[in-house]
Amino acid sequence: MSASAVVGRREFIRTGAAIGGGLLVSLHAPLAGRTSDALAAGEKDFALNAFVRIGTDESVTVISAHSEMGQGIYTSLPMLLNEELQADWMKIRVEAAPVDKVYNHPAFGMQITGGSTTSPAEWGRYRKMGAVARTMLVEAAARQWNVEASSCRVDEGVVIHGATGRRATYGSLASAAAQLTAPADVPLKPAKAFTLIGKPTRRLDTPSKTNGTAQFGLDVSVPGMLTAVVARPPVFGGKVAKFDANETLKVPGVKAVKEVPSGVAVIAERFWPAKIGRDKLTVDWDLGPNAALSTEQMLRDFTEMAKNPGTIAKKTGDPEAALKTAAKTITAEYDVPYLAHAMMEPLNCVVDLRADGCEIWTGTQFETVDRANAANAAGLPPEKVQIHTTLLGGGFGRRANPASDFVVEAVHVAKAAKAPVKVVWTREDDLKGGWYRPMWHDRFVAGLDASGNPVAWTHTIVGQSIMQGTLFEAYGIKDGVDSASVEGAADLLYGIPNLQVDLHTPKIGVPVQWWRSVGHSHTGFSVEAFLDEVAHAGGKDPYELRRTLLAKQPRMRAVLELAAQKANWGSKLPAGVGRGIATHFSFDSYVAQVVEASVEKNGAVRVHRVVCAVDCGTVINPDTVKAQMEGGIIFGLTAALKTEITLKDGRVQQDNFHDYQMLRIFESPEIEVHIVPSSENPTGVGEPGVPPVAPALANAIFAVTGKRIHRLPIRASDLAQEGAKS
């Protein structure tokens, strides 16, 4: 953790001044912008720094610089802070940070939640902020008692002077402590002294998520608010030519129909009239250049492109020569489709736009970017725009949109409505709305030596760039290679001496975006499915081959061994059940999974059990790590078995959960998660559980059927036995 990550006293005073009017900060954000767990701050609430306030009622409010979208950060960040603050855990509340540079991500320099980076990035800062606050509270008590601070200790929110037995609660000291100068440097506890970090801790947000009080963006209401839905073009890049709103305006409750840059907004008193009004709207669209797009054609184009190498992303040794001299070569190609994020809470955004400022309520992963884009759309300076981050009903990357599509559109609708407005996306809007995980084609050639070991490996990738044309381009694209396109392929851990990874980046008019595990969502599948083919071609056990190739990767090798051991790799399975294994390194974490699956005569796949081992460095909340692995596995199985976005004549062919199906409880396997103990710094948890499950499943299907999976989602028709009805 760099020193610059630590917020100085001077800086947070400025922050306090910006948002609360001085040192005594009372962040009375509108109630709508709060989570139910962060109930209204008490009348006397004192900021010890920008990350923690202490109330005279003993409440401790931790300010989260990151959004809670299910990954458990509203519990993990308070755990980090309170490891050092040592307040009574039962008194902890969480509040979403306002947009301010003090809350910028320590590594990215902007306020964002993504890339499985919150715990790794905040590992130092939140503990430091807790330690600074504790030091100030102790100092305040020592001054009151006229004793040395070093003669005092703390215990669950109480400062104690041992020699005299005097005690003072944090709440009673908060006012005086907030007047003190923050210490420049404070020592942090060594890991062996942790009392909270590493202990299974119940999530602070669970109660509110079991009684309907948790507040998501869609639940926000502000006085005078209208609700809008937007008719968007049926083809990406289309524009409104003309529209007829006569029938729409007859719907009781519809207030106005307005053209906005993204389409036609139907603005009404409530959602239902807006939706009915949109159904009655007639729009003539200028379809633009993408009206002939077809994913079937793209599949053929990608396959053709992959016949020649693309821009080199990684080259080790001399793969060309090694392939020529190999005893055996094998080739395989893999395809994965566009995928929608399909968060359960459809996109939405509330905007209150006035001449002198703009307030926004939404569940976002991208506060700094959204504020800049919203300010631009509103014609205001960014500091006049404030975003109240609500809970996110799922994010998976969709709510980190470089163009802030759902926020910018809502600003335009608010401008047209001349009233506070909530723009609501329906499920159909969500699935047809683009910003998908890109469609990818992966082509491999491997060369094996006489003993069956892979000595050469070439991997040609075809797919759109996510970062091209965004503000992340300078950060993520080097020498024509988008790092997100080749992650998980160019940084292969397996010891193969001659390796080449190259990339074709076609430009296609379908907006694409990061989707839980990003590039790893295709490389995890293709690399691990192909490695299984390589093992088979060389007459090797797929587990043993991986073990051999990981000789110089002790952390991954340990994870692989743990997963295999817990899954009883090599033991006999019931007839008709196959076992497959895969590993994947992503977001600095090591994951291995073993899948047990069977295939019915009609080709239907049943996943019985998934055993997962993970090394994510120091674990903050073990139950959260397990939950994220479980969730990642089910997310990955949905992609493996169920979902694809396809286009025909430029139109997205999927509408809702009947043709974009999610895995359901009756398809959900038994999942076991095993965590490798580690004292390394924490690494990512939200995404690394996703990539290995599709290949482990594909490999299990091969084990039981002898059929290789080369295309996701897995199709029953490809696996049905002859004569069986599919």
Binding site: Q71, T206, T210, G253, R270, W272, E345, G394, F635
Partner: protein
């Protein structure tokens, strides 16, 4: 005007009676615990009880509630004491939490009709509720746990 009961209290809603009950609850009665996920009874996020039966409120016209009793997540218990809420908290089921109102309301009808459900019973009763975060293994465990807690409650 549609008159009915929500969580035991009489209410009147003056919107088009064809409006889905979900939107009457959310937009007219400002009870936002019941969620919108698909609008086609495909995901279960909007599940409420109508005279004790689980229904998808996104496709149920308001008129269907006339004179009847609707129970929403807000009315499941006054203070998180329903066995399902206790079990959900004990096992930390929710992740993003958005689907959980519907999950719990579906599970409540299951337990009311079948106090000791098997895994198969759970699969059948909960198959209409999607969780994109993938909390299914915990939902299953929590329903079994709630059944146990409810059983202990009855024998005390």
């Amino acid at each position: 005007m549609t008159s009915f009961f929500v969580n035991g209290k009489p209410v009147q809603v003056d919107v088009d009676p064809a409006t889905p009950l979900l939107w009457a609850l959310r937009d007219s009665l400002e009870m936002t615990g019941t969620k919108f996920g698909c609008g086609m009874a495909l995901c279960g996020a909007c599940t409420v009880h109508l005279d004790g039966k689980a229904i998808r409120s996104c496709v149920a016209p308001l008129s269907r509630a006339e004179g009847k009793h609707v129970t929403t997540i807000e009315g499941l218990s006054a203070n998180l004491t329903h066995p399902l809420q206790k079990a959900w908290i004990e096992l930390d089921v929710p992740q993003c939490g958005y689907c959980q109102s519907g999950q719990i309301m579906s599970a409540a009808v299951l337990l009311a009709e079948n106090p000791k459900p098997t895994d198969k019973d759970i699969d059948e009763a909960m198959g209409g509720n999607i969780c994109r975060c993938g909390t299914y293994p915990r939902i299953r465990r929590a329903i079994h746990r709630a059944a146990q807690l409810a059983g202990e409650g009855r024998t005390r």
